[in-house]
Each structure stands twice: as C-alpha cells, then as structure tokens.
Amino acid sequence: MDWKSIKTGLQDQFADKIQRWHEHNTRRIYLDIDAEMLEPVVTYLFNTLQSRFIIASAVDKPNNMMEIIYHFDFLHLPQVLSLRVVLSKDRLEIESIAPIIVGAEWIEREIHELFGITFKNHPNPVHLLLPDDWPEGNYPLRRDQ
C-alpha cells in the first residue's frame, strides 16, 4: 500500500468529515476531525488501511479546549498520520478506541489520569501511573492546576 492510495482512500471515505488536511511535510500529516468521527476513522485506518497505532498525545489548549492527537503509521511507509480531535473542557468525553486497538488501552488510562479526559467504553478505566490514592480531580498535566 502506498501513501497515495491511503490518501485517496481516506479522502473518498470521509470527504466532508475531514475538517483540515495539513501536511507539515511529506512525512508528517495532520488531520482534524470531529470527536464523533473518531471511531469510524480509526476503524477504517486500522482495519482497512492496516495502519499501526503509535500513541495518542493529549494537549491542553487555550480557550477551554483540549486536544487529543492519535498518531498512526503504515508498514514500510515513512508517513505519520496524526488525527486531531478537539474537545471542549466542559465536556471532556470521547469514545475509547481500545476496543478497536488493544494497544491503546494504556495510553487512554494515562490520559485519563493526567488530563481528566473520560474514555467511554474503556475496558479497564483505572489508574495506570499515579498512585491509587491520588486526589480526585487533580490532573497534573493540565495547565489550570
């Protein structure tokens, strides 16, 4: 599978759902999508395009926003595709992708404890890194604390 067909595949499949397609350079591609679209896009990426999940990075953003960036790559291709999902801090909730990709389980737990984002339908939503008696509502990587 080459990058061109991946690109056309994605664009055909989710033409109007992709809010922004940004190529930082030929190897680093950022895609902005709606939170509701995450599940179908990830399913498509993982099952149809056979991408490999790398990790998700959450970023606390100004203006009451929180971002989760899901990074994917493809076997034998240099491209890293990053799906960006923006959440409002008033409703920090997103569908878990761990049911689709097992490898996402830990990072979602980690994001949950460090940023306070809730992952719906996560198979095992408990603390990963912090002690179990870590105060509720204290999210160390958030900037408002």
């Binding site: 350079n25 680093r28 034998h76 291709l77 990053s82 097992v102 490898g103 996402a104 603390h127």
Partner: protein, 393 residues
C-alpha cells in the same frame, strides 16, 4: 482457584520498579495485570520547564539503557519542527552513537537473559565484552552512559579522526564475540528446547498491541524506523532488517543477536564514509508549530511529539518509549504458558530487564506471598536443567 504472582517491585538485580501480577491456575498463567508508576517521574511535565537543549538531556534520563534513542527521537522531533537538516558529518556521528548503544544494550540483554536461564557465567562474559563498547563510547563522548552528544542541528562533540582506527579495531573485536554468542544460542539444544515455541506473539497480536522493535520483528513484522522513516545517516548505509517469523522467545533472542552484526557493520560503514566537515548548525530558534520525531531504539521505535509556541521551552512534550507497548503485549504472550516460562517471556521483550526480576506468588485468600522471585528464577533455570537432562540422557 487462581493464584496471583506479583512481580515486583524490588529485587537486587532489578533496575526500575514495576509490578506485574500473574494470575495462575496450577502451573498455567491465565491472566496478567501490570501496574506501573513506581518510576513515573512526570517527565512530560518537566519537559515544559526545560529549554530545548535541556529537553535533550532530560529525555536522555528517561532511561539509562536507551540513553541515546530518546535524545535521537527528540532531535528528530525538533528538526521536524524547525525543518532543520543537520550537517552530514553530524548525521554519521549520530548514527554511530546510536548503533554503539544498540550493541551495548543487546549485549546487556544477552547477559541478563543468560543469568535468567541459570548461566551466570554468560552474564559475566557478555558484560565483559560490553565494556569494549563502553570504552568506545567513553572515548568518543566522554561518558559510559548518558552521552549528551546530540543537539538539534548537530552534535556537541566531534569524533576525533585519529580515533577512527582504534574504533575500527574495537569493532573487529566485537565480531568474534557476536559469533560466540550466536553460536551458543544456535547450537545449544537446551536453549532451543527452552526458548522455541515459548511465549509466541502472533503477527496479528503484534499489530494489535502495536509492539515495536525486535519484539515485532520476531513476529514477522518488518518494521524498523531506520528503514521506514530514515533519519541520521541510515539512508546512506547498507543494512538489513532482521526478521524472524515465529514470535517466540528464541526468535526474539536471535533477532537481537543478528542485529549486533548489522550494528557493527553500520558503524564501520559510517566510519569509512565520514568526511571532515561541520558538525553543528548552531540553530537560532525553533518556530511555533508541531513536530514528530521517531528513532529506532534497541527495543523498538521511540516516538516523540512536541508542540512549540516559539519560545525556547516546549509547550507540550509527549514521549512514547518502546517498552510502553511491548510490555502490554505480555498480556497476550504469557497466557497459557507455565510459570517457569512466564518470567522468561516477560524478559524477552527486554522491558528494561529488571521488570521481570521481581516475582512473588501471592495466595489470593490471605494475600501472603508463597513463591518468591528467586523461586521463579529457579523454576526458569530448573527448566533449562531438565531439558539438558532430557536431551543428553
């Protein structure tokens, strides 16, 4: 009733504390719980209060074994952010350091794996030969670990042209060593029986758990950042990706040993191709924006993501170490194996070995440990012995 075997969090040979809970029924492992966080130092947060230069030093201290792969990913990340291309000589030097580290790390693994199988002598021997690499690193970078060589846009120290013959010589010394260890693993029927077919991770699971590095390559997945997303001097040198199909512990071991040859050859090629020239661009600033950096650590792909606001401190720094995904995959690999093998399987992904060194069986009812780490170690070593017996008698 299933018994719980906690692994951790302290043991003499261990490095950092982590905690596994093996649920066992009889001899079979039925479930694995992993508890992390004893080592959680909040590096991602700390990175936000360090300047770009300091971030390189900080990520170097994520882990001492991979102490150059994190900086490698970090500078890849910064160079991606600032669209910087470091000078050629710097790229060669970087590749050399990375490969030296791979040799040292793989030898370290071989030694500790030997220890785990009951061959303490192997441990001592491989660490003895590891000193060759440490010497080279000390001469080139000034330190045996934590080399502080990399910076965005170049390297901090040049490699002395006069040292090259000596480094070449050291690399020549490495080859018979690798032959020795390869021969030991290949020809030893006990090891075959002990390692083959144990702890298999299928290619499908490898993708599912997003494993990387030798753990993935041993399952037949041909991924290697050095080839897929070339960085440093890797596009200019010739090397192969070592792939084994079975996904068992034997494949993982062979994968690592074969990579030693590749690393030695890459270093030699780099030393030959290197020309005198500038080693640093002395960059001025990093623009606002995002950057992604990847590097192939001895244990697999290291991934860094950063967000810059244009100041000299990152606004967000995300690190994904290879063990992060590899350790989780144990959840799959150990199921259905015996306790004696479990320790070995956990160790096979090279999760900074230590993680596997802390086992105690806990009786679920009164939560008292009844089987210690040493016993598991013994179980593991005993199995080798049994096999030896079966094969030789």
């Amino acid at each position: 009733m299933s018994t719980i075997i906690p692994i951790g969090p302290y043991h003499p040979l261990q490095e950092e504390p982590e905690f596994f809970r093996l649920h066992v029924e009889g001899e079979k492992v039925v479930h694995l719980d992993i508890e992390l966080g004893y080592n959680h130092r909040g590096i991602e947060k700390l990175a936000e209060s360090k300047s770009w230069d300091q971030v390189v030093f900080l990520v170097e201290r994520i882990c001492g074994i991979c102490s150059t792969s994190h900086p490698a990913a970090a500078i890849n990340c910064m160079e991606d952010l600032g669209a910087i291309v470091a000078p050629e000589r710097a790229q060669y030097i970087r590749a050399i350091i990375c490969e030296l580290e791979r040799i040292h790390s793989h030898l370290l693994w071989v030694g500790l794996a030997g220890h785990f199988l009951g061959y303490n002598t192997v441990w001592m021997w491989s660490w003895k030969y590891r000193e060759i690499v440490c010497d080279v690193l000390e001469k080139v970078t000034g330190n045996r670990q934590s080399y502080a060589m990399f910076k965005a846009g170049g390297v901090r120290r040049d490699l002395d042209q006069d040292d090259i013959p000596w480094i070449m010589e050291s690399m020549d010394k490495m080859k018979p060593v690798v032959d020795l260890f390869r021969g030991a693993v290949m020809d030893d029927p006990v090891l075959h029986a002990r390692l083959k077919g144990v702890g298999c991770l299928s290619a499908e699971d490898a993708i599912n758990y997003a494993v990387v590095g030798p753990t993935a390559r041993a399952s037949g997945i041909r991924i290697d950042v050095r080839k897929d997303d070339p960085y440093f001097a890797y596009p200019w040198v010739d090397f192969d990706i070592v792939v084994y199909e079975e996904g068992d512990v034997y494949s993982k071991a062979m994968c690592r040993i074969d990579e030693l040859y590749q690393s030695v050859s890459i270093i030699e090629q780099c030393l030959k191709k290197m020309k005198p020239g500038p080693i640093d661009l002395n960059i001025k600033e990093l623009p606002p924006g995002e950057g992604i950096g990847r590097a192939e650590a001895p244990r697999g792909e290291v991934f860094h993501y950063t967000l810059s606001d244009g100041s000299n401190f990152p606004a967000r720094y995300k690190v994904r170490a290879p063990s992060y995904t590899n350790i989780l995959s144990n959840e799959k690999a150990v199921i259905g194996e015996t306790v004696a093998d479990a320790a070995l399987i956990l160790a096979a992904v090279d999760p900074c070995y230590c993680c596997t060194e802390r086992l105690t069986v806990i009786d679920e009812e009164n939560n008292k440990s009844v089987l210690g780490q040493a016993d598991l170690l013994k179980l593991s070593q005993a199995k080798t012995e049994t096999l030896m017996k079966r094969l030789s008698l």
